[in-house]
Amino acid sequence: MRLTCPLCGDRDRREFYYSGSEDTLTRPAPDAGDAAWDDMLYLRTNPAGVTKDLWYHESGCGSWLVVTRNTVTHEILATERVADRKGAPK
């Protein structure tokens, strides 16, 4: 498996740490209630198809990335630094 890091380019999968679904990007407010926290911490969709998840370029630039990929075809559709996302706080 290969991932294209926006900073480092086309790299081997073993340089990256996999951290699961991008669901954890949306951290509920402290008073959001049990359901919201439960959702963020424990509930995951497991799509056959396009999914987004988080990878950390641990043996590279140290960027946390959102990777869009297809779980059926194994295609990597996009890689983006979390910090560069649209609407990400600057």
Partner: protein, 975 residues
């Protein structure tokens, strides 16, 4: 000797080898199979289940029968295919699965008892009593139906792993692969051409065809020579591309030294290559399939293409009187080639009706072979022709049921192949991105077709890179391949489908009858297509017979999933250098070599080696050393290497705010020049890690983590910084390796350090929990007044390169105080005596409240894990609390892992009151002490409780006490 003229062997040199102890000779270019056939050895093994005598079926890596043990000692290798093992001087090979000898095998009786061994027999036969399975049935079955054996000696050879990048990978060096590599290589592409054979050329070496103005083998040699001279082409013979992985990654194993008695000095046995190639051409050829007819498994019956290959490439004819049984035109070539070489071709049994007859050969149309004879080797065949049966005396029979494109790599990604009626075989459909099939692998069987499709694919690969790759094809045959499918000849006895696993037509019928009709079920029920050859010759035959039984098409019946590896890959190659001491790297602290010179005993912590204890002369038991280290530290002073703790520099104008969010307790209020113990939670509220963080300047902090979690904490901090709070101005960097750090603890710690430190470190100069940037004889250093042992203690850090010098300086300065160097065991004893939590308590299921640190979790700010640490179940009044435990009778030794039970309570899960987490012998107190999590523990001080270990069968009466066994008021720390 049955050598004929010609062939691609070097007759100028002779190689001597043994098979079952008997000495034979071969030549460079020979495989073990060709050399044995040349010596009239047809019997090479016994079959898996019935112990039937077997010889070679094929001339390549698809071989199901001729499996032998080669070499001896640590290099002994079972299940080696004689058809691919190159002969070398001194090679020793032995047949397998026979006793006492290959020609007389006692378990040959199994063949007579075949009705008991039908498909699924072990599911039905060995049902009960269940306990007999492991002790009785399985060992017997394994011994009877085994393949080769290992000596269990260590493999003396080294194996490497390597990485290669190319524009184009060409797998297979037959006509299609050679032409593809030539076309791409001439255009300057970076090309890798890999082939499992030691001689490039594929079928070109096995045929008597012409390419251009040359014989096919000569053209292959010229092409290989040209490729070898091209600067951007890498030729990799003896290299099997065994797997296709995502995104243009291919796994390959290069057998660097398998053809040698032992690797040349400095060379490896095999190399596992990971090849990165955005484009790849699969030119893996086709694999011939047999026809099922009664007793079609005798030594001497082989595939027609193999028979031809042995004659053309190895100058061997494994018989004096040869017949061919075929359902296609390619099979007829075998008869023509052999007759041209002067071999007596008795008959060609052609299952097809009509059509032209071969000149000068007895060519029977509409005929079939219905049975064979010869116990240890073929002596005759029974032919049915126009309703008449006739027995022919032959000692070799070439069988061709057609050719299957070798789909192995193309279909590994689960794409379903298409069925072609024209060649009666599956052809690759769409494969993984970047991989295309050409030549016979794509179902294009003529030499011209192979050359053309190879060149076209290479040109397309070049164009994808924006390059031109013109080509001109040499002239080659473009004969049609005509086939009329025939899978199984009706018979009364047994007809083999999968010779390696002894699966017959009857077994397929039985599987169908018992509703295991799906090909995946058929495989599991009958073992069709399992083991080392993975059914390369038999799978489609089995599916076709099943299709006839179900009335479905073969296309609808399908094939089992193709998975890597294409052929077996040794564990040695997969492991590479990662074995023994090199399995993983060790990290050594700057004081390691000094400690080693002092006789230190080391323990692995994370990847580090840390001093566990440091024995003095006369100490024979570890406890003697550890007790001494603890007592001397508490009495005077001890030094401990704490370099391995994770160190992270946190800087930025928002560093304080950042720390406030990653630690559960408050950090914004930490003054410059002060340290604070910090507790890090997971988002679910459990304690994750702990350590002290020091504030060196307005925007500069140094965090420490536990040794084991250093990498993980850093990763989480990056997550918090980049993902959760990117608006904060904060930067972090790991400095674990940059600093060597030592703890100096004990009543004389200050006196010792003051001898080295240039600044005043009196209690006023550096109070408890203070930190300072200092100098030691002008060298910059950091000093933290923190304590894990409970003593007056400091941690002193210097740049890592001075670590060795500092440990020597500390020991020398400590001499007058009787200073000791202590290891992780003494560290552990002292932290338990002091009641500090560590790894055993930070077990991932414990909260700050459990640890008695509930008050540290600040509710006045938002931090990771704070919200969920307040969940109802986690804040229950009577939940687990950290307690100290001491035996009522000081002589009693509690057991690690024990559970707590009330007096009189039965040992049930409901009555479980918690467990003992850390147990040490306290030399200070003179008895064992422990920490543990006890239900409602804070309110049970002074209670007597049973410490029960059901596994060890021990029960000790103990008293619940404060976890602070020494100096509960902390007077020593502040001294």
């Amino acid at each position: 000797m049955t050598r004929i003229a010609g062939g691609l062997i070097d007759r100028s040199r002779t190689l001597t080898f043994t098979f079952d102890g008997q000495s034979f000779q071969g030549h460079p270019g020979d495989t073990l199979a060709s050399a044995l056939l040349a010596a009239d050895v047809r019997l090479m093994g016994r079959s898996f289940k019935y112990h039937r005598p077997r010889g070679v079926l094929t001339s390549g890596s698809e071989e199901p029968n001729a499996l032998v043990e080669v070499r001896t000692g640590g290099r002994q290798e079972p299940n080696t295919r004689a058809t691919v093992q190159e002969v070398f001087e001194g090679l020793t090979a032995r047949s397998q699965n026979r006793w006492p000898s290959l020609s007389f095998d006692a378990l040959g009786i199994n063949d007579r008892l075949n009705s008991f061994f039908a498909a699924g027999f072990y599911y039905k036969t060995f049902m009960w009593p269940a306990k007999f399975w492991e002790k009785l049935y399985e060992p017997i079955i394994r011994r009877a139906a085994g393949l080769g054996a290992l000596t269990r000696e260590a493999d003396p050879d080294a194996y490497d792993k390597g990485f290669l990048h190319a524009d184009l990978l060409v797998v297979g060096a037959g006509p299609a692969g050679l032409m593809a590599a030539l076309t791409a290589g001439r255009a300057g592409l970076r090309v890798i051409l890999a082939d499992e054979d030691f001689l490039l050329g594929g079928r070109l070496n096995a045929e008597s065809l012409a390419v251009g103005e040359q014989g096919s083998a000569d053209w292959a040699r010229s092409a290989a020579a040209e490729l070898a001279a091209l600067p951007t082409v890498r030729l990799m013979p003896r290299t099997t591309v065994f797997g296709v992985f995502d995104h243009g990654i291919y796994g390959a194993v290069e057998r660097v030294s398998d053809h040698l008695p032992a690797p040349v000095q400095g060379q490896v046995r095999q190399t596992l290559w990971r090849i990165y190639a955005p484009q790849a051409i699969m030119a893996t050829g086709a694999i011939e399939r047999p026809i099922a007819f009664d007793n079609n498994d005798r030594p001497g019956v082989m595939l027609a293409g193999a028979l031809r290959a042995y004659a053309n490439r190895w100058a061997v004819v494994p018989g004096q009187r040869v017949a061919v049984f075929a359902n296609n035109d390619d099979g007829l070539r075998t008869a023509v080639d052999l007759q041209a070489k002067g071999v007596d071709v008795v008959a060609v049994i052609d299952s097809r009706e009509g059509g032209a007859l071969l000149p000068g050969i007895r060519h029977l149309r509409g005929a079939s072979v219905v049975d064979t004879s010869g116990r240890l080797g073929l002596t005759g065949i029974t032919v049915e022709h126009r309703g008449r049966r006739e027995t022919l005396a032959v000692d070799a029979l070439g069988v061709s049921g057609g050719w299957n494109p070798n789909l192995g790599l193309m279909q590994q990604h689960r794409a379903r192949p298409d069925w072609s009626d024209e060649i009666a075989a599956f052809v690759p459909a769409r494969g993984p991105k970047g991989l295309v099939a050409v030549g016979a692998a794509a179902g294009v069987f003529s030499t011209h077709g192979a050359l053309r499709t190879g060149a076209e694919a290479a040109r397309a690969a070049a164009e994808a890179l924006g390059r031109q790759a013109p080509y001109a094809l040499p002239k080659a045959e473009d004969a049609p391949y005509r086939i009329a499918p025939l899978w199984a000849v009706k018979g009364a006895s047994r007809a083999w489908v999968d010779q390696q696993n002894d699966v017959t037509v009857k077994d397929v019928k039985l599987a169908h009858q018992e509703a295991f009709s799906d090909v995946e079920h058929l495989k599991r029920y009958t073992t069709l297509g399992m083991a080392t050859d993975q059914g390369k010759t038999g799978n489609l035959l089995g599916a076709a017979i099943m299709a006839e039984l179900t009335g479905q098409s073969i296309e609808a019946t399908g094939q089992t999933t193709y998975r890597p590896p294409f052929t077996p890959v040794s564990l040695g190659a997969l492991g590479g250098r990662s074995k023994g001491r090199d399995f993983k790297p060790f990290r050594l602290t700057p004081s390691h070599h000094w400690a080693k010179s002092q006789g230190a005993v080391f323990v692995e912590v994370g990847m580090w080696l840390r001093t566990q204890w440091l024995p003095k002369a006369g100490e024979t038991e570890w406890r003697q050393s550890v007790d001494r280290e603890v007592l001397a530290t508490r009495a005077s002073v001890g030094i401990c290497d704490v370099t391995t703790l994770g160190k992270i520099d946190v800087q930025g104008t928002d560093a304080a705010a950042f720390l406030d969010r990653v630690y559960a307790n408050n950090f914004a209020s930490l003054a410059i020049g002060k340290c604070r113990y910090g507790l890090m939670l997971r988002e679910d509220g459990m304690v994750y890690d702990d350590g002290t963080t020091a504030r060196l300047g307005p925007n500069e902090y140094v965090m420490t983590t536990t040794t084991a979690n250093a990498v993980l904490v850093f990763r989480n901090l990056e997550y918090a910084r980049q993902v959760l709070w990117p608006d904060l101005d904060v930067q972090i960097i790991s400095t674990t390796e940059a600093w060597a750090q030592y703890s100096v603890a004990g009543p004389n710690a200050r006196k010792l350090l003051q001898k080295l430190v240039d600044q005043d470190i009196s209690d006023a100069g550096l109070p408890y929990m203070g930190c300072a940037e200092i100098t030691i004889g002008g060298l910059r250093a950091r000093l933290f007044r923190i304590s894990f042992s409970g003593e007056l203690a400091y941690e002193i850090a210097v740049p890592a390169r001075y670590g060795d010098g500092l440990i020597r300086a500390l020991v020398a300065a400590g001499e007058e105080f009787g200073a000791v160097v202590y290891g992780t065991e003494a560290l552990g004893v002292m932290r338990v005596e002091k009641g500090h939590v560590a790894g055993n308590e930070l077990n991932g299921t414990s909260t700050a409240l459990n640890m008695g640190l509930g008050k540290m979790v600040s509710r006045k700010k938002e931090a990771i894990g704070v919200t969920l640490s307040g969940r109802e179940a986690l804040v229950a009044e009577d939940g687990l609390r950290l307690v100290g435990v001491k035996p009522v009778n000081p002589a009693d030794a509690m057991k690690a892992g024990s559970h707590f039970l009330k007096i009189g309570a039965a040992p049930t899960v409901e009555n479980d009151d918690g467990w003992l987490t850390s147990l040490v012998y306290s030399p200070h107190l003179g008895h064992y002490i422990a920490l543990g999590y006890l239900r409602d523990g804070a309110r049970r001080m002074g209670e007597k409780i049973r410490v029960v270990n059901l596994l060890a069968g021990t029960e000790i009466m103990a008293e619940i006490v404060s976890p602070h066994f020494i100096d509960p008021q902390g007077e020593r720390l502040r001294g």
